[in-house]
């Protein structure tokens, strides 16, 4: 039976045979240019690579989760040993703060912006705009004759004490301590549960820890900047802290640096191990100088793919380049098939090239299709990976079919023993099929156990040191970062505050002050403040102010106070109170709070409220808050669930589309149901076994496993096509050897990837290792067993 041929490559070979110098020169020039271009690449270790950028709820939620207080700050906890007093800690905090001011640090905070006096004055003056009906009723109770006598006497005593000269202004303005009612509203602003103010410094409740908060100008995803910033902090800590006081630093910068360092370390390891292993396999199986050229194909395509990427966009995700190691290992099957076919000889190299071009092109088309599906992914990292992989595959096919045949010399026929060509032992057909079916059934059953993990931490490096630091911060300061965020949104601050008022009206009854953090009690919308003001004025107008003035006059007289001692206070009862404003809050020492809870962005303002992030609370709030327009709930636990949902959805979509497209392609190529089924044996085996073994081992499926699954499909289809072409179209055993050796190089490459410490790379490595590791025996043993009569 004549072997089908692609004559265009046969003709191309003959055309270039007389122009080899030009061909080699052009190829070398191309590789040099690509090498130069690839030096422009800027590697990014950005989490954005793993997040959908399709404007979906998941991406939006992630963006909003970054607005949580402390997310973008560097939090330093100073801890003293036994016997360290708060004064030592606060002095150490001040020294550290002074040493850190400068490049990369825009602000260092060790305590509130000013002493409490300003806050009391502000609360007292704005009480009329803040007090609702309930508060007015309490003020009524505080204004009875007996209460006036008791409270005024306490103020009088305070005036006589040494503290009196500092409290005089407060007593003139608020002799009955009305501001205590406003002060209670502050309970809803406790963002750090275990925080206490000691000597105007942030201290833990037990007085053994001080808090220093840094605002940094260094982007959280800038690994170089993060390295410099953390080094500055390390030096500042070493210089500023006395013996017995230690510092724990927590910030996104630390995560960025750990991940960047891990990925860089992994890249070096992977590329080294892969290169050495692939070279070793080549020399073990090929033992020829021509093998050097085969080895150069994957090396060249790595450079070419990187160079083309640099021309498209100089910023490349580190994970895309990490995948280069895999590409280096996998993209040699085409070169391998050409090499073995040409080495086997028996025919003119041009004829061989034409014959081999068919399975090579079929395989490449199927692989390109499976990677092409990744282009519709919502994750930018996966799309970039698809482009990078497809460039590499196209380059691999081009070099393998156009350049390589000119570099491989056929062995003399006597030097090719038949036994060496038929690599795989002839195992009993029924045994092979029986074992295969058994494994397939077992793995098929276990696939149901695979769990999807949408947490970003599942694909991010978190060292035990970082985990311990996080635990210590949570233990010292309480659950600072574990709250769900509710955003009240509006085109301007007042519109957002109006939404926030409605939100607080619901949540204030549901959660205790310690659980709920909201600015609404201290900064209501202008409409609500106006309502409060009107109520305040009419309340005091109703004879109450006059009665209170008379009571104060009488009791004051008895204690020796002058007639106008409390004039400012009494005037406040009869005049419209000033509005509580954002600026007023800042001036009263609440700048940090305001900055944390009011977030401005182009086109709008968001006012942040924080609630407990428990599944029950989130489930009920999700429904309840739908009724308030302009409110958006963002929860970390819900985000993880949504990410899992997105992964399942993406995975199902990829798998379905890829399977349909690959099946259609194979059907068009082979046009025979039996052969189509045979081609798909390695794909089905690889997919079912990888998922089944993952389920069996309790491994979770994350966003990187999707990329790995596509890889399994692409590679296993190639193996299927090569083997079926060999069995049904009368090709030589060179195909078996190509499948085995290229499969081994793939496993070598992926084995190195499984050695990676970074969870994302490790996931890809393990998944593909399982898929390809089972797909190769399926191609070499199961397909021949299933089509033995066709082969004969």
């Amino acid at each position: 039976m004549p072997v089908p041929s692609c004559t265009i490559f046969e003709r191309l070979y003959r055309f270039l045979a007389t122009r080899r110098r030009a061909l080699f020169g052009t190829t070398i020039l191309l590789v040099i240019l690509a090498t130069l271009a690839s030096t422009r690449l800027h590697i990014e270790e950005d989490i954005a690579a793993m997040l959908p950028d399709d404007g979906s709820s998941v991406a939006k939620d992630f963006e909003l989760l970054q607005l949580a207080p402390f997310t973008r700050k560097v939090v330093i906890t100073l801890s003293g040993g036994e016997g360290t007093d708060p004064a030592t800690l606060s002095a150490a905090a001040d020294r550290l703060a002074a040493s850190l001011a400068g490049a990369g640090v825009s602000k260092v905070t060790t305590g509130p912006d000013s002493a409490a006096g300003g806050l009391f004055r502000w609360l007292g003056s704005t009480l009329g705009s803040l007090a609702g009906e309930e508060e007015l009723s309490r003020l009524g109770t505080m204004s009875t004759g007996a209460e006036v006598q008791k409270r005024l006497r306490a103020s009088y005593e305070s005036l006589l004490s040494p503290e009196g000269w500092a409290l005089k202004g407060s007593i003139q303005n608020d002799p009955l301590s009305f501001s205590a009612v406003a002060m209670e509203k502050m309970r809803f602003l406790n963002m750090i549960p275990h925080l206490r103010l000691v000597d105007n410094h942030f201290m833990s409740a037990d007085g053994k820890n001080a808090l220093v908060v840094l605002d940094s100008t260094v982007s959280m995803t800038d690994s170089d900047g993060s390295r410099k910033l953390l080094e500055r902090i390390r030096q500042g800590v070493a210089k500023s802290l006395p013996q017995g006081v230690s510092a724990t630093v927590i910030s996104g910068h630390r995560y960025t640096l750990v991940n960047a360092d891990t990925i860089k370390g992994d890249l070096a390891l992977i590329l080294t191990v892969t290169s050495v292993a692939v070279l070793g396999i080549y020399f073990f199986f090929l033992r020829s100088l021509s093998a050097v050229f085969v080895f150069l194909v994957p090396s060249s395509i790595l450079v070419i793919a990187s160079g083309v990427m640099a021309c498209l966009d100089s910023n490349v995700y580190a994970l895309t380049l990490g995948f280069g190691g895999v590409l280096l290992g996998i993209a040699d099957e085409y070169a391998m098939l050409i090499y073995f076919s040409c080495r086997q000889g028996g025919k003119d190299i041009g004829t061989i090239t034409g014959e081999v071009a068919r399975p090579v092109l079929f395989g490449a088309a199927a692989t390109l299709l499976s990677f092409g599906v990744m282009m519709i992914s919502a994750l930018p990292g996966q799309r970039e990976l698809a482009i990078y992989s497809m460039i590499g595959i196209v380059a691999s096919v081009a070099i393998s079919l156009v350049v390589l045949p000119h570099l491989v010399k056929p062995l003399p026929q006597a030097a090719v023993p038949a036994a060496r060509l038929d690599l795989m032992p002839r195992l009993p057909r029924r045994l092979v099929i029986g074992v295969w079916l058994g494994i397939l059934l077992l793995c098929g059953w276990q696939t149901t156990k695979v769990r999807f993990n949408g947490k970003l931490s599942a694909v991010s490096m978190v060292t035990s040191e970082l985990k311990e630091a996080e635990d210590q911060v949570a233990k010292t300061w309480g659950d600072v970062r574990g709250k769900a965020l509710v955003f009240a949104e509006g085109p301007d601050l007042d519109a957002a505050l109006a939404v926030n008022d409605r939100l607080f009206a619901r949540l204030g009854k549901r959660f205790a002050p310690g659980e709920l953090v909201s600015i609404a009690p201290l900064l209501p919308s202008s409409a609500l403040q106006e309502e409060n003001r009107q109520r305040w004025i009419s309340y005091w107008k109703d004879g109450r102010a006059a009665r209170l003035a008379a009571d104060l006059g009488r009791e004051g007289e008895a204690l020796g106070f002058s007639g106008d001692a409390f004039k400012p206070f009494l005037e406040r009862l009869s005049t419209p109170p000033p509005a509580a404003t954002e600026e007023g809050m800042r001036a009263a020492g609440m700048e940090e709070l305001v900055n944390s809870l009011i977030v401005r962005s182009p086109g709008g303002v968001r006012v942040l409220t924080m609630v407990p992030d428990t599944p029950e609370a989130i489930a009920s709030l999700s429904e309840e808050l739908k009724g308030i327009p302009g409110v958006r709930l963002v929860s970390q636990t819900r985000f993880a669930t949504q990410m899992s949902g997105a992964i399942v959805h993406d995975f199902t979509r990829y798998l379905t589309i890829t399977c349909i497209l690959v099946f259609a392609l194979v059907a068009i190529i082979f046009r025979n149901p039996r052969r189509i089924a045979l081609v798909l044996v390695p794909v089905v085996t690889g997919l079912v076994c990888s998922l089944g073994i993952m389920g069996m081992l309790g491994m979770e499926f994350n966003i990187f496993n999707i990329a790995a699954t596509i890889l399994i499909i692409g590679l296993c289809v190639d193996y299927g096509i090569f083997t079926v072409c060999r069995l049904t179209e009368g090709s030589t055993h060179a195909a078996d050897r190509a499948v085995l050796v290229s499969g081994l190089t793939t496993l070598a490459g992926l084995g190195a990837l499984a050695l990676a410490r970074h969870p994302s790379m490790h996931s890809i490595g393990m998944t593909v290792l399982l898929g390809i590791g089972t797909g190769i025996p399926a191609a070499l043993l199961v397909i021949p067993a299933l089509c033995r009569e066709e082969e004969s």
Partner: protein, 210 residues
């Protein structure tokens, strides 16, 4: 015209240079006064004194006088007690404190570091009791008004304190071992005068006072 301008400028220069000399002299008190006060105070282990406090405040119809007793035990124990017209007071012992009001019968404990106003008061009282001029000079510009007996005027350097405190007048005993009078002048013209009488130095104090 030019000569007139030069003459005016020269006059201004002369006036300002004299002013600068006077101010400069006032801002840099002779070190020996402080050294002398600190030397004599270093021998003080305990202080015990009655005091009379006069509040000259616009809030009151007349001057309000109160009486009390002050006890100090080196280095950081202090008792400040008003006995009339109302009974109240506080005790400081390191960072811990206790205050009481006789008419409510309530006693409460507190930590000085957690009460900004109380910390300010404690710092002041202890600084003067210990004659800690290094600490005082950090917060005040000191002018020596008289050196026998020593009398000082102190103006706050920090804007926060200057917000309500204009200056302090402090007079020492002839031997310089303790403070006899303190006047706290506020920005609005109000002031408080405290006179310490029957002062006993290094008299053994009962432990339960603190």
């Amino acid at each position: 015209m030019r000569y007139l301008f030069i003459a005016i400028a020269a006059t201004f220069f002369f006036i300002f240079s004299i002013g600068a000399q006077v101010t400069g002299a006032a801002q840099a008190p002779p070190e020996s006064v402080f050294q002398q006060l600190q030397r004599t105070a270093s021998g003080v282990r305990t202080l015990s004194s009655d005091f009379v406090q006069e509040k000259h405040l616009s809030m009151f119809k007349t001057v309000v006088s109160s009486k009390g007793r002050f006890n100090f035990n080196k280095p950081d124990q202090l008792r400040w007690e008003i006995t009339a017209p109302v009974a109240s007071g506080f005790v400081l012992k390191g960072d811990k404190g206790r205050r009481w009001h006789a008419h409510t019968g309530r006693t409460e404990s507190f930590q000085i570091s957690q009460e900004p106003v109380m910390k300010l008061v404690a710092d002041q009282l202890l600084s003067w009791a210990q004659a800690d001029f290094a600490r005082i000079q950090k917060e005040y510009r000191i002018t020596v008004l008289d050196d026998a007996p020593v009398s000082l005027r102190l103006e706050p350097t920090s804007a926060t304190t200057a917000g309500f405190l204009r200056y302090l007048l402090v007079s020492f005993s002839p031997d310089g071992r303790y403070v006899r009078t303190v006047e706290v002048h506020e920005q609005d013209g109000d002031f408080t005068r405290i006179k310490f009488v029957n002062t006993a130095v290094n008299k053994p104090l009962k432990a339960d006072l603190f």
